[in-house]
Symmetry: C2
Subunit: 290 residues, 2 copies
C-alpha cells in the first residue's frame, strides 16, 4: 500500500481524497512537478524549485509549504514507501484548493491551496532497450499557448499521448505552425551532421530539467549544440532523434511516422551524452553524500 | 447545506470527495455542462445532451449514466435544494475517474468515470442592470485549439477571466490571430448598422446553447444575423457588443478597453432579442407543463 502526502498528512492512498470543490478537480487550476530520487537524493532539486516557482507565479498562487518543507515531505514519502525501491519518481501538485462559495471562475476570496504528493518506483534505465530506440508519430500541437507553465490542465496532452500509444508509438512529437515544439511528456532533440539541435525555450514548451541538463553537459564538454527552431523538414531529415524526460533520460527515436530516422541507430552522440548524463547523476549523488 | 450528486449518491457537499487519483484532479481529464432550470424545467435539455455527447466523444469517454438518468438526477438535485429557489443553474462534470495504477498519461485499462453534479441559485435576470451594460477588455486567446470541447482543463480561461475581473471588467473578449473567438465564459455578438454578427462555429469556440438560441431566434424573426469572422477592427467599430451565456442571457457590453462602444447604450436590437429570448424561456416552460 502506498503512502501519499496530502495537506500535511501522510496517509494510505485509498484514504487520500479532496473536495469536489477543489479547483484542481473543477478547473485544472494547479501546477505540478515530477522529481526523480536516486538512492535517497532528490535530483536537481534547486532547478525543480525554480521551475515550480515559475509555474506558481504564472498562475498567481503561493505554495502553502516552503521549499525546505517540500523537500522534507518528499524525502519522508520516499522513506515511507520502501517498496518502491532505491530510485523513485516523486510527484507533487499544488492546486488553488476548494472555494467554499462554490464553482466560480474568479479566484476565491480566501485561498487554501491543496498540496498533494506521491511517489512511485523509477525503473532502472535500460541501456539495451534505449539503444534499440522507439517509434514516434507527429501530431499538430493543439495545446495552450502557455505550455511553459507546468500546469495540471493537461487534457490535450493526454489525448495526444493516447493517440501515439494507439499507433504503437512511445510519443507524439508536436508541430505548431510547421515547427517542432516538444512531445507530449518530453522534450525533443535532433542530431544532424554530428551537431545537436533543440527548439529554444519559449512559451510553447515546458523547459524540462533533463533538457536543460543535456544542454549544460553539451556546453561543458564542447559538444556542438544549438537551441534553434526545428522545422518539419529538419525533423524529417535528421540523422538522429531523441526525446528527453526525467523518467526516460535521453531516449532515441528510430522511427518517425513509420519511416526510419537516419540509419535507424541510436548514434555515437547518444552514446556519449547518455554516458555524461549518468556520470552527472552519480556525481550529484556522491556530492550530496559528502 | 447543499446536497450534491456524486457517483450515484446524494450527499452534503462537505462529504463529497474524490480520490487524489481521479484524472479530473490530476489531468483536467473530463467534460462538463451547465444547465439552467427555470421553475422546475431544464432549459434546452436535448441541446445540452447533444453538446455533452460531442464533448464526451471528443475525449473518448462514455458517460456512466444515460441521458434519462442524468435528467432524473438533476431534477432530484433541484428538489433536494429548495433553498436555491425557483430558478437554478445545474452543473455536471464527468471525468475519466481514478486510475488504480497511479498517475499515467495513457488511459487506464479499466475506466470508472466519475459523475459529479451540483446546483446553485440562478438570480433573476435584472433588466435594468443589463440595460446599463458592463465593461470588457480584450486579451490574446492563449487557450487550447480544441475549445469546442467543454472540458474542465480550464486554467487559461480562469487566468484570463481573473485578469478581466482585476481590471474591473465583466469579461475578457479573446482575440486569436486578429479575430474574435469568444469570451472566457460567454460567446460574443456585435451589432453594426442594425445587423448582428457572431463568429462562426469552429474548433476555437465553444458553441453556447444561448448563442445558438440567439441565432435561431434571429432566423425565426427575420432579424439580420450573420455567422462570420469578426476581426479586431469590426469589434472596435461595432455599434453594440453583447456577450451571451446561460447565466447572463444576452448582456450588453458598453465599454471595451476603457472606450465607449458605439453610443454606449444597449440598443434597440438588444431590447428586441432579450424579449424574444425571455418569451422563448416562458414558452418552453409552459410547453413542458402541458
Amino acid at each position: 500500500m502506498s503512502i501519499v502526502f496530502l495537506n500535511g498528512e501522510y496517509l494510505p492512498i485509498e484514504e487520500a481524497k479532496v473536495s469536489v470543490l477543489d479547483r484542481g478537480f473543477l478547473f485544472g487550476d494547479g501546477v505540478y512537478e515530477v522529481i526523480p530520487c536516486y538512492g535517497g537524493h532528490l535530483f536537481r532539486m534547486p532547478q525543480h524549485f525554480v521551475r515550480l516557482q515559475r509555474s506558481l507565479d504564472a498562475i498567481r498562487l503561493h505554495s502553502p509549504l516552503s521549499n525546505d518543507d517540500i523537500a522534507e515531505a518528499l524525502m519522508t514519502l520516499v522513506n515511507k514507501n520502501p517498496q518502491h525501491g532505491d530510485n523513485q519518481a516523486l510527484y507533487l501538485q499544488i492546486t488553488r484548493g476548494p472555494d467554499q462559495n462554490g464553482r466560480n471562475h474568479g479566484f476565491p476570496e480566501t485561498i487554501n491551496p491543496t498540496f498533494y504528493a506521491h511517489t512511485k518506483a523509477l525503473p532502472p534505465y535500460n541501456y539495451e532497450e534505449a539503444r534499440r530506440g522507439k517509434s514516434a508519430i507527429t501530431l499538430p500541437d493543439i495545446r495552450r499557448k502557455d505550455c511553459y507553465i507546468k500546469a495540471i490542465s493537461l487534457l490535450p496532452n493526454i489525448l495526444l499521448h493516447q493517440q501515439a500509444h494507439d499507433a504503437g508509438s512511445e510519443e507524439a512529437i508536436l508541430l505548431r505552425d510547421g515547427y517542432v515544439t516538444e512531445a507530449t511528456t518530453s522534450n525533443v532533440f535532433i542530431v544532424k551532421d554530428e551537431h545537436i539541435y533543440t527548439p529554444p525555450a519559449s512559451p510553447y514548451i515546458l523547459g524540462g530539467i533533463t533538457r536543460d541538463l543535456v544542454i549544460e553537459l553539451a556546453n561543458n564538454y564542447q559538444i556542438p549544440l544549438s537551441e534553434q527552431p526545428i522545422d518539419e523538414t529538419m525533423l524529417r531529415t535528421a540523422d538522429h532523434l531523441w526525446i528527453t524526460s526525467c523518467s526516460r533520460h535521453i531516449h532515441p527515436i528510430v522511427q518517425l511516422d513509420n519511416k526510419q530516422v537516419g540509419n535507424g541507430t541510436a548514434g555515437i552522440l547518444w552514446e556519449t551524452m547518455i554516458k555524461l548524463f549518468d556520470d552527472y547523476i552519480a556525481t550529484e549523488r556522491s556530492d550530496q553524500d559528502e
